[in-house]
Symmetry: C2
Subunit: 255 residues, 2 copies
């Protein structure tokens, strides 16, 4: 096989949060197979490549997982430099491991290029540090996509022993909050939802865990995916957010 | 205050895993205050800046946390563009929250630039995806620095319900493994330690949880910090590693 596949993390959305390596791979790519959530400004960096969407949005697949494997392998066998571009990091709920195994089975050379994960950057984009001395020294990252995936963790983890970040969990947020309260988390536990993290249209909601089901991003982002953050660190957002806003204004020439 | 402070994540080590924004901030900086673990090749990208080490190594601080706050504030008041450069991500055990609060108290404009966290990139550098369908759909990130920080999580979390990644935990790895086994984790649970992740001298160890205390990186990296990974996903390393090695050889002109 003469071609090469890079499984690349695109980060949380802001094209400035791409890694240098991701930028290099995009600029040299012949073919980019991208997830639905990758920002258009990121895709535009692969100016010389043919670009195809293969991701799913709101549960609807445009291409099956096997179809993605097949497309990567076929392109690599034709000698192409392929970038498989994923939101965040390829190994955090990104099916990067499955795609890597499929490439290995087909003897296609590949690499994994880590990206900035939304699990950390989405809270940061709402001025929430996932760890903070005295408030939280542990981070739990869950997928909210299927309840059986988060249940064993939520039902066992000692209340208030970690910051809990849930990706793809908006649809099930009422059940998640109820399970945490049933486990002993205070109903007043500071909670947040961040939509479109690190993007110009970013929005966030903050409130007590018991009100998480009410979190809505406003009309423009209705139905958009969001990242849930639960834990005392969310209370820092109020202290840090105004400075960030001032800083943005003060930045001037800085991007 | 005319100056500006960027709290920047330097990623896991490889300068190619810096974000574009981090690179921009480094190239425009007047002053860089960096942690001991930041790679020399990353620092070299701040060619026009004065550069001072302020981090701690193996528990020995070169500058106190208050001293770091003071230095950032003083430089910003003199109108300098300051980069506070941290390994990984500023908000994952990086004291970014504390430094942000200090800057806010002094009314210094600042921003946080997320980085690729070693919690995800160190396992990836040893061909271990932190999540994988059928093996793990949750990630727990702990600091091993102080036992009271990880105890409540380790003593409560249901065995085998998540991938456990421990940063700064090598010194206490025997106690950690014992606590997990006492909680009901199988002694055979696949485990790994990754040293110098994403760097040319990277090394890793793999074995059962019950042997974690024996993990050693070899003489060149003796005493170096390492990232611990515990969970079934570690078993994928064997399947993925050879292809990664082949891929490196096949890469040719690619970096």
């Amino acid at each position: 096989v003469k071609g090469f596949v890079s499984l690349v993390g695109a980060g949380p959305g802001d094209p400035e949060l791409l890694t240098r390596k991701a930028l290099r791979r995009l600029s040299e790519a012949d073919l980019v197979l991208y997830d639905a959530l990758v920002a258009p400004e990121v895709l535009a960096l692969a100016a010389g490549a043919r670009r195809f969407p293969v991701g799913k949005r709101a549960g609807r697949h445009t291409v099956t997982q096997e179809g993605i494997h097949h497309a990567m392998v076929r392109a690599a066998r034709r000698g192409l430099r392929v970038v498989r571009l994923k939101g965040g990091d390829p190994f955090v709920f990104g099916r990067g491991g499955e795609e890597a195994l499929a490439l290995k089975a087909a003897r296609v050379p590949f690499e994994v290029v880590p990206g900035v994960s939304a699990a950390i950057a989405a809270p940061a984009s709402a001025s929430i540090p996932v760890t903070h001395r005295g408030l939280s020294s542990a981070l739990v990252v869950l997928s909210g996509h299927a309840e059986e995936a988060w249940r064993p963790v939520v039902d066992s983890l000692a209340p208030h022993s970690a910051t809990v970040v849930v990706l793809m969990g908006l649809a099930g947020r009422a059940a998640l909050a109820a399970a945490l309260v049933a486990r002993g988390w205070r109903r007043s536990t500071p909670s947040a939802v961040v939509w479109s993290a690190s993007r110009p249209d970013s929005a966030s909601w903050r409130g007590p865990l018991s009100s998480l089901h009410k979190a809505e991003p406003g009309e423009a982002l209705a139905g958009a995916p969001g990242t849930i953050v639960i834990g005392e660190v969310v209370s820092l957002a109020a202290a840090l957010a105004p400075v960030v806003a001032e800083a943005r204004a003060a930045q001037g020439g800085l991007r």
